[in-house]
């Protein structure tokens, strides 16, 4: 299983901050968003917005990065500070 985290308004769209997905083989971030989009078009397009960043195991990555079982992928919308 890989852990997906949806912060800020993305959590509202995903119906919760955390979700687990089983990955039989590694997927790129882009491919994983494709899977999510197939299940929920609105969520998928929100995850592709230009200002959303991706963090894989705590490091910012681009959509080519590969996600495997055991990884944590976080979707970070623009931050809003304190």
């Amino acid at each position: 299983m890989a852990k997906l985290l949806f912060f800020g308004r993305l959590g509202d769209l995903a119906g919760g901050i955390e979700r687990s997905v089983g990955l039989s083989e590694p997927h790129s971030v882009a491919a994983l968003i494709g899977v999510l989009e197939a299940g929920d078009r609105l969520l998928g397009s929100a995850l592709l917005e230009g200002r959303v960043r991706y963090a894989l195991n705590g490091t910012i990555v681009d959509r080519d990065a590969m996600v495997a079982d055991g990884d944590e992928l976080a979707f970070l919308p623009p931050v809003s500070g304190g």
């Binding site: 308004r9 809003s80 304190g82």
Partner: protein, 157 residues
């Protein structure tokens, strides 16, 4: 440089923290603090609850990396960052930054710089609940502009 970063899930007392921070100093003559607290109104209605979310671990590492930069840029004896997460009510403290230095210019600039980082780049997501419902807040242009001031800054204390 002494440093402490705390993400607080419950209320904190800014003045008790400032007092403890100041008591631990040896050679600083200048202490600057910034306290941010929940404003009762946001312009289009009164806020009942402000909620802050962070990414445990990654948010703290981002702040620590920023403190590495601050330590290189300004001659500080100590820095303190406390940031609330969770639900807050009007007048509750949200953030406290304290800096101490022999030189007041260094203390002012470092506190100002850290606040610009915390407001525009640190990993916090904020929603406000008011009479008109719950809304996620994204940074204002003003916050980006404040943070961008430092990019052209010649550096040094």
């Amino acid at each position: 440089m002494l440093r402490r970063v705390t993400i607080a899930s419950g209320p904190f007392d800014p003045e008790a923290e400032i007092a403890a921070f100041r008591k631990a100093l040896h050679d600083s003559g200048a202490i600057v603090t910034f306290t941010g607290q929940v404003r009762p109104s946001n312009g289009d209605g009164s806020v009942t609850t402000l909620s802050l979310q962070h990414y445990p671990g990654m948010t703290e590492r981002g702040i620590e990396a920023m403190l590495d930069q601050v330590a290189e840029r300004w001659p500080l004896e100590a820095v303190l960052v406390i940031h609330r997460v969770g639900d807050m009510r009007p007048h509750d403290p949200i953030v406290l930054v304290a800096t101490a230095s022999a030189h007041r210019r260094a203390a002012f600039e470092a506190a100002d710089y850290l606040m610009d980082y915390l407001k525009s780049r640190a990993l916090f997501w904020k929603s406000e609940t008011s009479a008109s419902g719950r809304a996620w807040i994204e940074p204002r242009d003003e916050d980006y502009a404040n943070a961008a001031r430092w990019d052209a800054y010649p550096g040094g204390g």
